[in-house]
């Protein structure tokens, strides 16, 4: 036998077999299977996009959602994030939140932290959400040109005081509506303490008494309709929020930084550290380089921040028993006293600002960190919550940022182009 013989034998073997039967619809079955594969691939692609999208949404939701357990006590966040300046718009009427970003319903509940830069913001003590408030008549210009607080959260976090200047009311001759407004964050009600002198007043250096009864601030009367450059006639005022009556404090003319007021109505200011008692008598406390002031809950001591030397100073109301603790950073802002008699201070260190509790010289406890972009003089804290455990709240899902869509947009664009090119190529091939 030869190779030809093997060939012949194989043919004989094969040729004796009948042809197999093929289903007549095999082609259509095959094409249907092909379409299923194409559909499945498309559905898979959509599923992947949906999964990625839902995962991203889920992550963002987790970052903004309140933590499990709705009955958790109110708390200060472990970290305070800076609010992006891009959320602010500048219109012919001045600064404001970008369209639809501001919340006009001010009943946002108890807050733990307030920030007055780049606009009025409170952080919920319940769920850590950031509320960009659309405060009526909020004086947006002041936070950008002052070191003194123009917004202050009450020690219990239930009320928010702010500088008010010319909202929807029309200017009447030289009387510009302005003064102080206090928002009840639980009901949304706004109380206005109006001062019609000059072109209105600039209110700065807001500070609450530990029990939340008194509010103290400095005022400057505007002598021109715009800005503070024409301000004159500075003075300090103490407001009794129960009676809504204010009293001028003559012992202190002006405070560059925050003022402090005790439960008894005594007032203190820094730079130089000064205290004015109920009898109106001024006492120089002998501390220089101090910034804002805050009274202890029992009214016996005053804590001062510092302008440059990174210290917190605690002094008795008589000027005795002075203690000074170095906490780091240059400017130190005193946030207030905790119920257990520690002082909350805020200062810059490294890449972030920090809140620490100082109980006595050399004993410090870090409780909160803040983005460095947060201007520490614009921060106020519900001091009654300072001795409670802080809670981790994820970074807020800040509203739309066009830059954040550049990369995903490019990817989606490339995928769409590729699919389109493939589809066009296939159609072209079929036409041929």
């Amino acid at each position: 036998m030869t190779g030809q013989r093997l060939h012949d034998l194989l043919h004989e073997l094969g040729d004796t077999q009948p042809a197999v039967e093929v289903r007549p619809d095999v082609f259509r079955q095959g094409r249907r299977a092909h379409r299923r594969i194409v559909l499945l691939a498309g559905a898979s692609l959509l599923a992947v996009i949906a999964i990625v999208g839902s995962l991203a949404t889920s992550v963002l939701d987790q970052r903004t959602a309140p933590p499990a357990g709705g009955d958790l006590p109110p708390a200060i966040p472990t970290h305070v994030y800076a609010v992006p300046e891009r959320l602010v718009s500048f219109t012919e009427n001045g600064y404001t939140w970008g369209s639809d970003l501001g919340e006009s319903d001010l009943a946002v509940g108890r807050a733990s932290v307030s920030l007055s830069f780049p606009g009025p913001v409170v952080i919920s003590a319940e769920d850590g959400r950031y509320h960009l408030l659309d405060l009526p008549g909020y004086d947006w210009s002041s936070p950008r040109g002052t070191n003194a607080p123009t917004m202050a959260l009450s020690p219990d976090g239930r009320r928010l005081a702010y500088s008010w200047y010319l909202d929807d009311d029309m200017m009447d001759d030289n009387h510009v509506p302005s003064g102080v407004r206090i928002v009840d964050l639980e009901t949304g009600a706004v109380t206005s303490i109006r001062d019609d002198r000059g072109y209105g007043v600039v209110v700065e250096g807001l500070g609450w008494s530990p029990n939340g009864r008194y509010l103290v601030y400095s005022k400057a009367i505007r002598t021109s309709p715009n800005g503070t450059s024409g301000a004159r006639s500075f003075f300090v005022e103490r407001l009794d929020t129960r009676t809504e009556t204010s009293a001028r404090i003559d012992g202190i003319q002006f405070a560059d930084h925050g003022l402090g007021v005790s439960d008894a109505g005594w007032v203190a200011a820094g730079n130089p550290a000064t205290m004015v008692g109920a009898d109106g008598v001024q006492l120089d406390l002998g501390l220089w380089g101090t910034s804002n002031a805050s009274w202890s809950t029992n009214g016996e001591r005053i804590a001062f921040g510092s302008v440059q030397n990174g210290t917190v100073s605690i002094v008795g109301r008589t000027g005795r028993g002075s203690q000074r603790t170095v906490v780091g950073g240059g400017t130190v802002s005193v946030l207030g006293w905790t119920p257990d008699d520690r002082v909350g201070v805020l200062y810059l260190e490294g890449e972030s600002a920090q809140v620490e509790l100082v109980s006595r010289p050399g004993v410090r406890e870090e409780v909160v960190t803040m983005d460095r972009e947060v201007r520490i003089t614009t921060v106020s804290v519900a001091t009654e919550l300072l001795d409670q455990p802080t809670r981790d709240f994820a970074e807020p899902d800040w509203p739309f940022d066009p830059q954040s869509l550049v990369v995903p947009g490019l990817i989606v664009g490339v995928v769409v182009l590729a699919l389109g090119a493939g589809y066009a190529s296939e159609r072209q091939r079929r036409r041929r």
């Binding site: 036998m1 190779g3 093997l6 034998l9 077999q17 079955q29 094409r31 092909h34 079929r430």
Partner: protein, 170 residues
Amino acid sequence: MSAIRADESAFDTFVASRLRSLSRAAHLLTGDHHLAEDLVQTTLFKAAKAWHRIQGDPEPYVRRILHNEGVSMWRRRKLQEVPLEYGAHRPGPAEDSDLRISLRDALTTLTPRQRSVIVLRYYDDLTEVQTAAVLDIAPGTVKSMTREAFAKLRQNAPHLADLITAGGDA
């Protein structure tokens, strides 16, 4: 729709002209009519699925599917079926009239790849290079697989030695 109809018409024309040849090759690869039917059916189904991608003569593409699917089918069967005793498969001495049956039985002792090489080389009359192209292997591999196939046939079916020697040398 006209493109799809044209594809279907071309497919039907191909099947009508090549079905017998494919059936014979499938028989030689499987040694069983029903398995051959399954093999051809599966091959044509897969060819239909990818019909839009086939450029030019579909024959080489379909033949490749047939042989690859033959291997896959054999692997699946290996997992599902209990092999018979060696002696039951071993072809015994045969008369010349039974030579075809002996050859068929002897082919079943080869691996599917070896069977494919034999069928492509000595039934479809492809060159080593063409066979290598269909099976997507190197021509040298075709040569060695042919040698191994004949060695196994010589061992399992000595009475086919003349045929095998001549074929192997061809």
